[in-house]
Amino acid sequence: MNRRKFLSLGLGLGAAAVMLPSTLSAVNYRETKTSAFEGPKSHTVEESMKELFGTSTTKEEKVTLSAPDIAENGAVVPLQVTSDLAGKTVAIFQDANPESLVAVFTVPANGIIDFKIRIKMAKTGNVTAVVQDGNTLYSHTKEVKVTAGGCGG
């Protein structure tokens, strides 16, 4: 463990401790799983998924990811993830940008897996939605063709 990682870990723990009283079930994955968001292991979907969930083996079923086939503007790519699973964690990955993890949702007790979000994509790539239910990961991957880059490119 190098110094930088150690420091960020400490920061994350500190922040988590401060947040605890008001938000008991809250998990900020940027702080607890920093390595999945940035750093050497965040560049590919597979490695980032391993950092986040501990495995990158997924079943391609029970999750629906809606995205446009062709996105005219990569700056705004609307996504929708739906699933009937009683999963607690939902993550969105893509392989078009420098880092692959886009968002990690925590599904609260009353929550329904029906999330819409708009993301940026630098180029054409595959978007993957993953739902963690128990120890199993369910996923759905869809290719989105981007005709104009979103990250200023």
């Binding site: 968002a103 999330f115 200023g152």
Partner: protein, 101 residues
């Protein structure tokens, strides 16, 4: 200065759907470099109804500018307040409220 988030929350047949448009530049590392501005993006969003968490997401730099999110949950009645908070990379937070209709 961060602007107000636009929030619409509606309850129908026990399912509450919320649409939120947060106002944020969401400058990724590449974009910020090109625009010679400081990197900043929303890293965490949370929504609550009467203290109970109904939505929670940790986000990266690849959300669109002025990010839009939609989510749904059960068990909240009309008239209650939805509280939506985001936190960005610089530690700025903003909380906005909207009544469930």
């Amino acid at each position: 200065m961060a602007k107000k988030s636009r929030i619409k929350v509606k309850e129908k047949k026990g399912v509450t759907t919320a649409k939120v448009l947060a106002s944020h530049d969401m400058l990724s590392y590449d974009e910020a470099k090109r625009a010679k501005k400081e990197v900043n993006f929303i890293t965490y969003m949370i929504a609550k109804v009467e203290g109970e968490v109904v939505y929670e997401v940790s986000t990266s730099q690849f959300l669109s500018k002025n990010p839009f999110v939609q989510f749904a949950f059960k068990g909240a009645n009309k008239g209650k307040m939805l509280e939506f908070t985001w936190t960005d990379l610089k530690g700025v937070t903003r909380t906005d409220k909207a009544k469930i209709k």
